[in-house]
Subunit: 383 residues, 4 copies
């Protein structure tokens, strides 16, 4: 365990400090306005020119000076009317209270940037707010001037986010779609049979359901490609259908867990990387949803910045959505430090992001570039 | 490891079976329509009156009969044009193919109810769809005829779901609110300072932020109660404000991690249980959001059913929302089997649920019972 | 919400029931021995020949009959000395108490197999015990008679489980190792530089660390293959070194996030699947550690059973280790229902499994097939 | 999105820089030794006195200068023999390569302390190694000189960690045990019936199991207290039994989800806090296992430091064990920044920690203060 010495109170910064100020508690269990709220770090309070440490230190307490000149950390509820309570907000000694943060926080730079005692300092947390408004505005701007790359995992198709993804494609928000075989397989199974892995849009298992994704793959293999399956009417809705009919490029990268795979899938992963990279070098924004593998693959290929026409640099907006903090942290741990983490369900993310984009488009008087009917798949299955 | 004998193929159910049917693959890597898609269970195929097991069994494969009368499990991509592939969907032997599921699945009842090989059979999963439409309809019905009890954790206040919760209270959807000290503390900190645990509505830490929740508590303690703090104008918006002004009963149950606590908190947990139970006995619906402790406490107190006026029984709708499958499974593991799990972020859940309720109200021509302005707290802080 | 009618109490099974038995509480807050402990399901108690439902039903309560002949569900702590409390354990009506489980649990087969109110019924949970003794015995048996296939993710190398994995290879417990590029890259980085992704064995970042995995890959590419790198002395310890020196076959399957890749990696995923499958068809046990992708890929290829020499079938022991319930549930949701889930840290799993195997070998008087020195990498870095 | 200007290359630090050095690739797909490995940040390379940015920037690539004087970021596998590749390790411009890290990382202090591009920089991750050796040494030292406080959640009793916890109590490593009602209830159910929540030590549900914890509570209530139940022989093994017989103080804090509760439980949470705090003020080490609520409660009460006899300060060793990163991050987000997170299963943590403590005791020639038989509960149930 690291050890520390007390601060040197003969140093100039302390020499000019004044004694701490104390005020009486106005009632039992009630602290005076402006009371000093403790941290759990070593704390020194100047009383009659001497720097005292409180007894029984803890965070979220008040500092009470008793009649014997002893200083105690005390929970507010245990303070009695008239007790002398330290007041002040500054922790640098200038008001007679010094919190010795540097030494203790210095060796823990990631947790507490800036060497200050703080709450809610973690980088990625489901407890942090999600600003959909900002994301919607960035996405609309990147539709105008840039090339937003979407990278999606199959959870997007398992759930009803599929209809929302179609909406984003139809309305021009998708520069390119990077995904794996499973995304396309589930999406096409949904179009053909109204299920994903045999599960209906309401979450029920269907009879014989375990074979449906294999039947979907087989029909596309028979057609020769996804585009041909769309053209022949074998695939009539969904994400892949939208990409084909809207001319949005997609790259399907193979992985060893693939069933089939579909004929469009790059089975050689270096070829797949080259195909992805052709889009990554153009990307001005990346939206990574519900996929660790593809998100990290894309993050590896992306610069953290975009060079603007006038030569200025701006951060490449990178949004990573996952149900757990882990995937976002893992992405950052592999160098994609610029990723903004959204810890939520992919279905809900898509639904709310679309809502905010629609509102923002309305507010800007922008017409959507296309209209699509309400979700064609979901509770009722594909049609 | 459990051991099993082969089925007795002299039994009547097998005696009348016919030989399996085989059809040629129409092209390399393409299976005939109606191909049999394998499981990973012992499988027997009737060929010339004998029941053969395929070699190299695996799931998601086809069954190919070669020229030597051998049967192989083969991935579709490895099948050549003209190969003889088993066709059929039934797994009970009647079409000459029998999947020996019972023995293997019998000792694993939870995973595969009904003794059938299935995908997506798990009980709670972020991959399952969330039917907000159904939840909205139930909630509107329970507003009419019942008593929906909401049980909330502090994540609801950390994020912007706070404004949505206020909307549900204002519009009569909350029969009672059961929560802990932290929910009220964060909510009141947000009203007073625009922060929760010192974090702004956009997720930034604020200077001196670590003491703000203590200042909020102190001001309510000085006022005497939350109601008095509202009446004196010290709390001007938010969840507790809405409960007080709308007359919605709330129970704040203490826990050992509480700061303060606020004066309204039941510090004795048996008294808290009695206060909660007074609402649980009236509950006709329970919505448990982002809290393991309070959700399990409430689940323990709730019957799984409601007795209707005509004496019929209906299931007591119980929705449990959490970022991870674990809390929902834990709730079920403690007896609240009727809980429907929603694995998502609390903020997003509230936002979409409200959206669906608003749509459903519109569709039914129902006027909202109240109007509230757009989110009073969030990006901009409280005012 | 589903609705139900009350049971038909004129049915024979109820006709012969007797009245429930009641006994006085021996003290305030103390129930008589053998008290009936409630569930949250509709419950009927025979009192004077009539079947009554208790008021204010809940689980974990007692049933108290008051002086007015009313029946109440009451928490034990609220029962007073002398209160008449229902006793009995059976829930089928034969002792005068009937729990109406069927109707309510019928539509929830996965949660409560067997139609009985139960706690701890979930399939996969970190709260379930892990029987390392059983796993150790199976592993030793499969070393003798079978072909245990190990499928590992990179977490195994990030942490000190690397030394334990080497031990299992050295001692003959690994029939084949299936993994991805990252496992080999991290392992070889550890051998060459004492780091993984630039993190030391004690979790510290090292200067220039972000490039070390690229340097490791480059050196193996320069050597031509992992085997040649071992032979030239460029790789002197670790998992890949052990595979090469012990002649244990390995298959490294490429994925799109691969750096490099190493020259041994199958970059074509259908070729990779074929290579994996050559081991899967021989597998008699599968140990899947800290990898969703490879675990599902392997699960897809494995039958759920092994055919013994005498033709009998036994379950193919499949152990899936992950930090979260999600991966195990996902694997089961994709058909590998036989998987036994262990929710823990991969490093700790390896360490304890090895310990139990060592103990079991001792108990059986088996000599280890090899001796290795204590962990060659970990706190101290590679040597 | 934040915007940045290019560095000012007329500044002195750049004026003296030399041109970057390039070396030919020795073979196709093989880079020269000492190649510069890219990050995803803006990078400038000095070529003929001019600072060029590479085209198609990405991380983990090499920098190749082609015949036209253009600089490209290229994956190693795409480099051809003879290509001119930049070499160097320093990123500060002194070797002609400058990585513009400050601007981009400045506003992201938590992710990348020190303004350097790094991998594995996150604070809490299951991918980080766990140093049981260090923890064992600290624990042994604190047994000698200090007061280790253990704070445990019920997962410790659900699993076989119970026997290990008894070992730590018996051997003097537990200064005080702080827990909730559930820990004691499960532990005593295990002693009386061999189950926890009706689940056997091997994870099987038992008939009538859902009532067993209520029967256990009732028997202790009848005895009057846990101590009396131990003295009367109603509780014959386990954690609470060890505390009673070894004289280790315990504090059981009530919560609203409590069944019963047991007679020893503090039902008033302010009284519970005062009882906990009496131990917190003496604590020199804290071990927080599998409990968010109690861990945060304890963290709130603990200083981050211990004052030694000579007046020096040392960090108060605080270990937080949980299955997910979330609990540890939450604890840190509430001010307990000094917590060292161990992301693993509680059962495995206990088992390995004990193993390392036993080894360290042996190495130091210390006799254990007590001997206990092998696990008295687990596979075989209580005896």
């Amino acid at each position: 365990m690291p050890k520390f010495k007390h601060p040197d109170f003969t140093a100039p910064r302390f020499a000019n400090a004044r004694d701490a100020r104390f005020e009486p508690a106005p009632a039992d269990g009630v602290l005076p306005d402006g009371f000093f709220s403790t941290t759990n770090l070593p704390t020194y309070v100047r009383v009659n020119g001497r720097w005292l440490m409180p007894r029984e230190p803890r965070m979220d307490a008040a500092l009470v000076l008793n009649g014997q000149g002893e200083l105690w950390a005390r929970e507010g509820r245990r303070v009695n009317r008239g007790d002398r309570v330290a007041v002040g907000v500054r922790e640098d000694g200038s008001e007679g209270i010094f919190v010795f943060a540097e030494a203790f926080l210095a060796h823990d730079p990631t947790a507490l940037g800036g060497g200050e005692f703080r709450f809610m300092a973690s980088d990625v947390s489901r407890e942090k707010p999600i600003d959909y408004g900002v994301m919607a505005r960035i996405l609309i701007e990147e539709r105008e001037r840039g090339y937003p790359v979407w990278v999606c995992g199959p959870a997007l198709v398992h759930s009803r986010a599929r209809a929302d993804m179609v909406w984003f494609i139809d309305n021009g928000f998708v520069g390119a779609l990077l995904a794996g075989n499973a995304v396309a397989v589930h999406d096409i199974e949904a179009s053909m049979y109204g299920t994903t892995l045999g599960m209906s849009g309401t979450g029920e298992a269907t009879e014989g359901g375990h074979g449906l994704h294999m039947r979907a793959i087989n029909r596309v293999r028979a057609a020769g490609s996804i585009t041909q399956a769309v053209e022949r009417g074998a695939v009539t809705n969904g994400i892949m259908h939208a990409c084909v009919t809207r001319g949005v490029p997609f790259v399907l990268c193979g992985s060893i867990r693939d069933d089939g795979p579909l004929p469009d899938v790059y089975t050689d992963i270096t070829a797949a990387q080259d195909a992805m990279r052709a889009h990554a070098v153009k990307a001005t924004m990346a939206i990574l949803i519900a996929t660790a593998l593809h998100a990290i693959a894309t993050g590896n290929m992306l610069p953290a910045f975009v060079t603007e026409e006038d030569g200025a640099l701006r951060e490449l907006a990178t949004i990573c959505v996952d149900s757990s903090e882990f995937v976002v942290s893992k992405l950052k741990d592999r160098g994609t430090h610029q990723a903004f983490g959204v810890v939520t369900n992919a279905q809900d993310f898509m639904h709310i992001l679309r809502l905010y984009v629609e509102r923002e488009l309305s507010a800007r008087g922008l017409t959507k570039t296309a209209e699509i009917p309400a979700a064609t798949w979901g509770a009722g299955g594909a049609r």
